[in-house]
């Protein structure tokens, strides 16, 4: 079966976020001795290299539909990656310490794409519920300048092009002051976030669109400037919440916004900026350039 191997190898060594790395001993398939290899876990892909400084991986294990268990072995700190299918090979591994073994088993168990998808859906649901609760409790409060349209497929956004509109400071809800009502606030988005290690949730970089950062990104608290007013491609309504443009899902209740829409919104701006940059640099736009960010 063909595979875009070159791109897969590129993914293994590029600077996209790495979940865990380290030496492990892997039992060979034909040669049943254990071989020490350098392993790199990225998402649901478990790459292994001959050495830590090897240029390309020698193999990859796709961690979908598998279980990770401790197992009996001649080696200490052994565990196995088992797949549902009888045809699939079981990978026997051995770590170099108890702690490393536990750490690897934990990391590999939650590495699948399916698991990630479940968790994201769960959080999306939680956020949706919170926003619904907030909007229903807001109905009893004095209205802010935000207005929402009841039926959205072909509505025009209500955002004014000039964002320096003054807002009333709202009553705190659950200790949370919606930043949307603070003047000149812009989006605080982690779309461009830097994923840090488990214990560090605070130091997340904010990416500033359009303006080059004056300080290192991770020290800036400034959110990016807003995208200009626009109608979304599918005609979906967008509401202005202070600076944040909430791209409402057509199928979601009012007030719910999705990562996908925000991703698209920001993407469009980036595409534009990039085109301009290319024009300035190269004098013309290469029509074959990709124009969608993933």
């Amino acid at each position: 079966m063909k595979l875009n191997e070159r791109s897969v190898a590129y993914y293994a060594t590029c600077d996209s976020p790495t979940d865990k790395t380290g030496y492990l001993h892997k039992k060979g398939e034909r040669n049943t001795a254990y071989h020490r290899r350098w392993f790199v876990l990225k998402g649901n892909l478990f790459f292994y290299f001959e050495e830590k400084d090897s240029k390309d991986p020698i193999g990859v294990i796709i961690l979908e539909g598998c279980t990770v268990e401790l197992c009996e072995s001649s080696e200490d700190y052994a565990f196995a990656i088992k797949f549902d299918s009888a045809k699939s090979r079981t990978y026997k591994m051995a770590a170099e310490s108890q702690r490393e073994m536990e750490s690897w088993v934990k990391a590999l168990s939650r590495a699948s794409f399916d698991y990630m998808r479940i968790v994201v859906k769960e959080l999306e649901k939680q956020l949706e519920e919170m926003q619904q609760n907030r909007s229903s409790s807001r109905k009893t409060q004095k209205k802010s300048l935000l207005r929402k349209q009841p039926n959205y497929p072909h509505s025009t956004p209500l955002i004014s092009h000039n964002f320096s509109v003054s807002y009333k400071i709202p009553v705190k809800e659950n200790g949370y002051v919606p930043w949307n009502t603070i003047q000149d606030q812009t989006i605080d988005s982690e779309l461009n976030g830097k994923a840090h290690s488990v214990n560090d949730n605070n130091d997340i970089s904010k990416c500033v669109l359009d303006h080059p950062p004056e300080r290192p990104l991770h020290t800036q608290r400034l959110p990016p400037p807003l995208p200009p007013r626009r109608r979304s491609a599918t005609g979906g309504v967008t509401s202005a919440v202070g600076g944040l443009m909430l791209a409402q899902d057509d199928n979601a209740p009012t007030g719910v916004f999705s990562f996908t829409r925000l991703h698209e919104w920001f993407g469009r701006d980036i595409i534009q900026v990039r085109r301009q940059w290319q024009e300035n640099k190269f004098g013309s736009i290469d029509q074959s350039q990709p124009d969608q960010i993933v």
Binding site: L3, V8, V105, G193, A195, C207, I270, I293, V294
Partner: protein
């Protein structure tokens, strides 16, 4: 001049892999890992995939209709693990802004070794910044 002919294939998206099959064959002809790639709309009812490490090479697809094409583009855009990871970070942060603390994940699955499943792995050792400006 090289002219490419479009071959009819059954295409199947499974997690972050796009498999393609010859009609009526059980085993896929090939697969594409959908990481570090860009999806681009092509004229009419088509789209293409371009990988960051090989920008001159396009994997082109033609759909039966514009709607189908849009569906594929949307599905493929969301099909990368990195996209999901960023969604996760985003939702967690949004919830944290409202509640003042990180959201909890209910136990989702029991595993032979561990009893307490948590968030998917949080990457960080290389500290990559997903920077829009980078190609």
């Amino acid at each position: 001049m090289v002219t490419a002919t479009a071959k009819c294939r059954l295409v199947k998206l499974v997690v972050n892999f796009l498999f393609y099959f010859r009609i009526d064959e059980e085993e896929p002809v090939g697969a594409l890992l959908l990481e570090q790639c860009r999806i681009q709309k092509e004229e009419d009812t088509g789209f293409s995939l371009v990988f960051v490490d090989e920008p001159e090479r396009k994997y082109s697809f033609v759909c039966d209709s514009k709607d189908e094409c849009e569906e594929w583009i949307e599905a493929l855009t969301k099909a990368s693990y990195e996209y999901m990871r960023n969604s996760l970070i985003f939702y967690r942060h949004e919830i944290e802004k409202i509640t003042g603390k990180l959201p909890a994940i209910k136990k989702l699955k029991k595993n032979a070794v561990q009893n307490n499943l948590d968030y998917p792995n949080e990457a960080g050792s290389t500290g990559a910044v997903w920077n829009f400006r980078r190609n």
